[in-house]
């Protein structure tokens, strides 16, 4: 199902040319610019593959290329991440059943040397942190290349229809989608070279330079050489254990936002949200905007974690927020049809007799994120555990430099916070990297200090206390 009307988003303008793709031989209508899994979802197809050992059905989970839950056979090629691979006219798509045979192909490929690109600074990740880093570094005269494995710039901003808090010069009162547009425009104006659908696969030292190896459009090997690298790869949704938590229809909150706000596809008809932090509560509001029924929000803690105004708004609109509740299991044949929830005691044990069976077709997990640190880890940066920041995070100093010289980090990949802090960290990382490569003038220090002060101020609120605890474990003095 596609969303036809939306108070904020106009999909009729956003959708590209109509094309036809073939799912197990059946023609399906799709729009250019949308990924395969999203197009299939619009056509009511939720099961994308069956697992290797237990033959369990699986569907989307993250919708941003990070979890491998959406692997399918595309034009004969197995293990394609269909949530970030765009549709093309005539594409043949099949469900994958466990591990696939090697495609029948006996012709040795002619080896093409990789395309080489060079710049002062290479940035991986085009969300708020990466974009801001690119803008700031380019402003100082550094040549910047930025890549992202998704087909759109803006990271998680492109699906945020709500207005941001914060100070005026930090986009307060502006909707996330709009911020993404502004940042994208600015980055392009400042001459940042952008590569989309480009997955970084490793950071290597090659002679004096650092090289980010990447694959463009699942096919082409690219080598990006630079003096400094900034990793702003964001985060990935956490999963919690409950029975049938892999049933198609159990989605990460971000995946639902992607479906509905980026591509105008109805995630389902009736949704249960697990987690009443900002993400869960904002998601509830966005679902209501798209005229999707939110049956309940369950929260294990005794208190709602979200900002009061957000929570009050959805309560006003009739969505129950059930604290001290959790999900026990998902039920359904091949897709979510019911969810069973229950009240829990102080020791987080379900209280017998309090179970409720809800009629839902989507279960949204908004139970936190964990930083995407794989590239940083591979590059040799020191990693440490900080629960407050979402799990394993990379150690860095006040200028966002990691333990590897010339390797910087920004945004959620340096610890889970939010878009505003991501942009501030991006600013610091971009300026510091520009200094590192010798492009910025010494007065840049002043700008860095200002951004650090803004960060401190932002974190001085009640939510920041937690973050500061985490940062204590992570910061290099």
């Amino acid at each position: 199902m596609r969303i036809q009307e939306h108070p904020i988003l106009d999909f009729s303008k956003k959708r590209g040319r109509k094309v036809t793709i073939y799912f197990e031989g059946e023609p399906i209508e799709a729009y250019e610019g949308e990924p395969i899994a999203e197009a299939l979802h619009a056509a009511g197809i939720r099961i994308l593959n069956y697992t290797h050992e237990k033959n369990r059905p699986r569907g989307l989970f993250c919708a941003i290329g990070k979890c491998s839950s959406c692997l399918m056979v595309v034009n004969g090629i197995p293990n394609t991440r269909t949530c970030i691979t765009l549709v093309e006219d005539g594409l043949r798509i099949e469900r994958q059943h466990g591990s696939q045979p090697l495609p029948k192909d006996y012709k040795p490929p002619s080896w093409k040397e990789a395309e080489k690109r060079e710049a002062d600074i290479i940035i991986v990740g085009g969300g708020p942190a990466g974009l801001m880093a690119g803008i700031k570094a380019a402003e100082k005269g550094a040549k910047v290349i930025l890549m992202d494995e998704n087909p759109l710039l803006g990271g998680q901003l492109v699906k945020q229809t709500h207005k941001f808090f914060g100070k005026r010069d930090q986009f307060a009162g502006v909707r996330g989608i709009k911020i993404a547009e502004i940042l994208e425009k600015e980055a392009k104006e400042k001459g940042v070279e952008i590569h989309l659908e480009t997955s970084a696969i490793g950071i290597f030292q090659v002679g004096e330079k650092r090289m980010v190896a990447a694959i463009k459009k699942n096919k082409k090997l690219m080598e990006f050489y630079g003096k400094a690298v900034i990793v702003a790869t964001g985060a990935m949704e956490k999963m919690i254990p409950f029975e049938n938590n892999d049933l198609p229809g159990v989605y990460g909150a971000g995946a639902i936002q992607t479906l509905m706000n980026t591509y105008g596809i109805e995630p389902g008809k009736r949704v249960l949200i697990v987690g009443a932090g900002n993400v869960g509560v904002i998601l509830a509001y966005q679902l209501l905007q798209a005229k999707v029924n939110v049956v309940a929000v369950v929260e294990a803690m005794p208190k709602v974690g979200a900002y009061f105004v957000h929570a009050a708004k959805i309560r006003r609109l009739g969505v129950p927020i059930l604290t001290r509740h959790t999900i026990l299991r998902a039920e359904g044949n091949g897709k979510v049809e019911h969810a069973v929830i229950a009240q829990i005691d102080e020791k987080w044990r379900p209280i017998p007799g309090t179970e409720k069976r809800l009629d839902v077709d989507v279960i949204a997990l908004a139970v936190g994120l964990r930083p995407s640190i794989e590239l940083l880890h591979q590059a040799g940066a020191q990693i440490t555990y900080a629960r407050e920041l979402g799990g394993y995070v990379v150690r860095h100093d006040e200028r966002m430099e990691t333990t590897v010289r010339g390797l910087f980090v920004a945004g959620d990949s340096s610890g889970i916070e939010e878009a505003t802090t991501a942009m501030l960290e991006g600013k610091i990382a971009g300026l510091s990297a520009a200094l590192f490569v010798g492009k910025a003038k010494p007065d840049t220090y002043e700008e860095i200090l200002q951004a650090q002060r803004d960060l401190d101020e932002f974190r001085s609120g009640p939510f920041g206390k937690h973050i500061l605890e985490g940062l204590k474990k992570v910061m290099i003095k």
Partner: protein
């Protein structure tokens, strides 16, 4: 940690653990293993898993024949049936008359020791591994009794068996010095204290030289960085044997039990202690693997790692009793084929230590051959 043992083994790799197992089976009651990190963390967990009898000299062939017998029953022997030796064969692809000549000679020698290897046609090779590109292959050397095994399960099974047999395994315990008095072993000094011992086995492979040098002993074992990769899984059974191609990068590759491909090529760096994976390796692996099995171009590499080959000048290990110091034994320098050799080496070492002699041809690996200038013919080394 005990303060006195009969036999102290330095190194919790496959050689150290397997030797402890053989010693304990022979009734030795006071054995301890010291491992500076965790067991398997040296080269063992980083290896290509290959086990073959297709060597070019009598000693390695006989040792490997014995090893394969023991690999086959290891699961039962250590009461851990989950461990299985996958007897899926080794297939050497041959591209020139000269290569074929050499391998024919090797096959003859192998056959004379009862190894059923043979030269087969490219079409037969393709029947064994359907995805092969055989347009340039003129023959292949094939032995179906070679195979592979999972080092994680081997080490886990051994550690369980050793604990049952009261062998002490000390992890995160580094031996800093081997203690000697009047040319006799007196014990080891570890990061967690001193331990008295009559016998010390240095099974520290790539690191063996460090302790030897402290004793003023010099055996040429140097650490070289080699690397390996694993791909995402694909349908089991597509690449059953270990496939080897000297023409294409000295590549070796096979499918693991979970369906992923494991393998490497002969690109090495060193001597060095640096284990950082290199991009050059990643690129060369992709280039060469797809020449051997073209459809691999559709498979993503999901892991890459570095590990040491503890190399000697003739690529044969250094195994035996050390003459200068009573009670000191060395089994190291396995040059990239220590995993496969471990069962026979362990048996030979255990016999040497408990009986003073062994029927296995350990002489071949005589530590003093280098000093005498009697290097062996280079062993066939992959990767």
């Amino acid at each position: 940690m005990k303060s006195k043992v009969d036999i102290a083994i330095i190194g919790g790799g496959i050689i150290g653990l397997m030797t402890a197992f053989e010693l304990a089976k022979r009734g030795e009651e006071s054995i301890a293993v010291y491992e500076k990190r965790y067991i398997g963390s040296g080269s063992t967990f980083r290896c290509g898993t290959g086990i073959r009898q297709q060597f070019g000299d009598p000693a390695n062939i006989q040792m490997m024949k014995r090893s394969v017998e023991k690999w086959k029953t290891l699961g039962e022997d250590m009461e851990f049936p989950k461990f299985k030796f996958a007897q899926t064969g080794y297939l050497f692809l041959l591209y020139s008359e000269k290569e074929v000549e050499n391998f024919k000679k090797n096959v003859q020698l192998q056959n004379s020791y009862g190894i059923p290897s043979r030269i087969i046609s490219p079409e037969e090779a393709r029947e064994i591994v359907p995805g092969l590109d055989i347009s340039e292959v003129i023959a292949a050397s094939w032995n179906h009794t070679d195979g592979k095994a999972n080092p994680f399960l081997a080490v886990y099974g051994l550690s369980r068996a050793l604990k049952r047999m009261d062998v002490e395994i000390n992890e995160y315990t580094e031996v800093q010095e081997i203690m000697v008095k009047d040319s006799r072993i007196t014990g080891v000094k570890t990061s967690k204290g001193e331990v008295k011992a009559d016998i010390v086995l240095n099974a520290a492979n790539a690191w063996a030289k460090i302790l030897n040098q402290k004793l003023g002993l010099d055996f040429p074992i140097e650490p070289y960085k080699h690397q390996g990769i694993v791909t995402e899984p694909f349908k089991l059974g597509e690449i059953k044997p270990m496939v080897v191609s000297f023409k294409y990068g000295g590549a070796y590759l096979t499918q693991k039990a979970n369906g992923g491909l494991i393998g490497g090529i002969a690109l090495k760096y060193g001597p060095t202690w640096d284990l950082t994976p290199t991009y050059e390796f990643l690129r060369e692996v992709s280039k060469n693997f797809t020449k051997i099995i073209p459809a691999l171009k559709y498979m993503s590499i999901i892991r890459q790692w570095g590990g040491y080959y503890a190399e000697t000048p003739d690529h044969n290990a250094v195994i035996g009793k050390i003459e200068e110091i009573e009670g000191y034994y060395l089994a190291a320098g396995f040059s990239g084929h220590g995993f496969m050799l471990a069962p026979a080496v362990a048996e030979g070492m255990a016999e040497l230590i408990t009986k003073g002699h062994t029927s296995l041809p350990l002489d071949f690996y005589d530590p003093y051959r280098f000093k005498r200038g009697e290097l062996r013919e280079q062993a066939i080394q992959m990767g």
